[in-house]
């Protein structure tokens, strides 16, 4: 019993170190055949088949391949079964894979634990693996939103590169904003039927911090790529305005039944135009105000003379 306690204590230290090193070195228990996490390395070769079908399902029209991040950090498997190696993915990576697989089942089952269970099944895991996540599907939705934001960033980055290389023209701000918001909202199209459910889950108090931070970082990204360099109060107003545009357009999209959501894009165009006008109007009001004041001063001087 003492030996067992010592072993456990020693192992806990080891695990503590492992955690500090961000799980680069798998804990001792890896030697005891972690059934799925190691098997994942085996399936590294088979992965491209399943993930490419995933990519086809939700790839953008401009054909750029979304990054499947679980594959990236994993170095190639050097196949010596049971040896200590850095091929083990962490639990988070496995959870990411399960959630990505689960997205396929969302149109049928909604954003629920059922969809996650089906996703786990396609990865060869038991349906009980869905117990790792909350039963209302919050993690699935947050995962999806963060994936969409990542895809949007990459898209904007690529376009920026094209502009820098001189292969494309820089768009004026309003057109850029319209393009970015439209691209981001189009990612919702495959899930549009169940999206209202997702929005309501995102508004649960438990999820609000995460969903809010995802939203603000996305808006930030868009403005960054739009070339916003402001360091004054404008920074806040710009983001507030764009957040308003994005949210209202999203809501319009939910009840839009026109072909290819034309009504939504027209609504978006109008809102962006409004926003541009508003900033013009603001400066106009300011200059008009100044002119009026000057006029009054002039009149006062004249009268006094």
């Amino acid at each position: 019993a003492a030996a067992g306690a010592l072993r456990r204590a020693g192992w806990r230290l080891w695990r503590g170190r492992a955690v500090v090193r961000c799980q680069h070195y798998p804990p001792l228990r890896a030697l005891q055949a972690s059934a799925v996490l190691r098997r994942v390395s085996h399936e590294h070769r088979k992965e491209p088949l399943t993930s490419s079908s995933q990519q086809q399902f939700d790839s953008q029209p401009d054909g750029h391949q979304p990054e499947q991040e679980p594959q990236g950090p994993r170095p190639s498997y050097t196949g010596q079964g049971g040896q200590e190696s850095e091929d083990y993915e962490s639990e988070e990576q496995l959870q990411h894979r399960i959630l990505t697989a689960a997205l396929e089942f969302v149109p049928e089952h909604g954003w629920t634990a059922e969809a996650i269970a089906e996703g786990a099944k396609t990865l060869g895991l038991s349906v009980a693996a869905a117990g790792m996540f909350h039963s209302d599907g919050s993690e699935l939705i947050l995962h999806f939103v963060s994936e969409c934001n990542t895809r949007l960033s990459e898209l904007l980055e690529q376009e920026q590169k094209l502009v820098q290389l001189g292969k494309a023209e820089k768009k004026p701000t309003d057109e850029f904003l319209r393009h970015a918001v439209e691209a981001r909202l189009r990612m919702l199209i495959p899930y549009i039927e169940k999206w209202p459910q997702a929005l309501s889950v995102l508004l649960l108090p438990r999820n609000i911090p995460s969903s809010l931070s995802l939203l603000t970082s996305m808006i930030d990204d868009i403005w960054h790529y739009a070339g916003d360099q402001s360091t004054d109060f404008n920074w806040y107003t710009r983001r507030a305005v764009l957040t308003g545009i994005y949210n209202t357009t999203e809501l319009v999209m939910l009840q839009d039944s026109s072909p290819d959501f034309e009504d939504t894009w027209r609504f978006l165009e109008n809102r962006v135009a409004d926003a541009m006008n508003m900033s013009n109007t603001a400066s106009q009001v300011q200059s008009t105000g100044e002119a009026v004041v000057q006029g009054l001063m002039g009149a006062a001087v004249t009268v006094s003379n």
């Binding site: 059934a35 996490l37 496995l94």
Partner: protein
């Protein structure tokens, strides 16, 4: 341990109710809710003699299945009468959606009581009763989706062996759930709990089941059992990931959960 349960088998349920003032039903319900099984789940309930967990599991899966079917029917707006008839046929024969429970216990008497209860309450499908030892399960590897052991792991002599067996028979991605009496950290509650355990429970045992010694043993074994963190470490030792525990009633009872990943 065997003789203890042989003698208590018949009065087991009654004693449970009186000892815990009926709260054990709530604990078991919470366990099943936490499991959130979907239809098609294969459950192994070890040391589940009188079938409490098994019956709750079946009820839960049945209601989930009904909801699923209702949702499916809502989508089928424009079917012909023939198609509707066919879908009713196939669904009626599948009210559990292929879920199954295997109840395993080391004690024949407990299993007998369980089978009788099942018959009495009308549970006919999806149940199997197997005699077996938690330290050496008579099942193949990678078979079950969920493994539960409710108030049973305390009675296993080599807990680590039982955990290893649990790991072995679970499918990859499978879940281990353990409901057991545990340590109360709150000093006030702890004192009241001790008082109740040592004074009241053996007396109840004598009055209801005519067996002071078994219930004395029970209360002492609870005190001897490793506390939450230690059990968590043992579960991790066996190879489970994402091991976590949830205290119910200030730690009187705890649910430990781990995944075979």
């Amino acid at each position: 341990v065997y003789q203890v349960f042989e003698s208590v088998a018949k009065k087991y349920d009654v004693m449970n109710d009186s000892m815990t003032l009926g709260i054990h039903r709530v604990w078991k319900d919470i366990l099943i809710h936490k499991m959130n099984p979907s239809p098609g789940t294969l459950l192994l309930d070890v040391a589940g003699g009188t079938g409490d967990i098994a019956f709750r599991f079946i009820n839960y899966v049945r209601s989930v299945r009904e909801q699923q079917l209702q949702r499916k029917l809502k989508h089928h707006q424009n079917l012909s009468w023939q198609e509707i008839f066919e879908s009713y046929q196939e669904d009626k024969s599948n009210s559990l959606g292929d879920s199954q429970v295997v109840v395993c216990d080391i004690n024949r008497e407990m299993l007998k009581v369980g089978k009788q209860k099942a018959q009495h309450l009308g549970y006919s499908e999806g149940l199997s009763w197997v005699l077996g030892n938690a330290e050496e399960l008579p099942f193949d590897d990678d078979k079950f989706d969920v493994y539960t052991i409710a108030f049973g792991i305390r009675n296993v002599t080599r807990i680590d062996l039982a955990l290893q067996e649990a790991y072995r028979v679970l499918k990859p991605g499978g879940r281990f759930l353990c409901l057991e009496f545990s340590r109360v950290s709150n000093p006030v509650i702890s004192r009241l709990y001790d008082l109740y355990s040592f004074q009241v429970i053996p007396v109840l045992g004598e009055v209801i089941a005519g067996d002071w010694k078994s219930y004395q043993y029970l209360v002492e074994s609870i005190r001897q059992f490793p506390p939450q963190e230690e059990l968590k470490a043992m579960i991790e030792d066996a190879g489970f990931f994402k091991v976590d525990y949830e205290n119910l009633n200030f730690g009187i009872v705890a649910i430990h959960s781990g995944f075979k990943l």
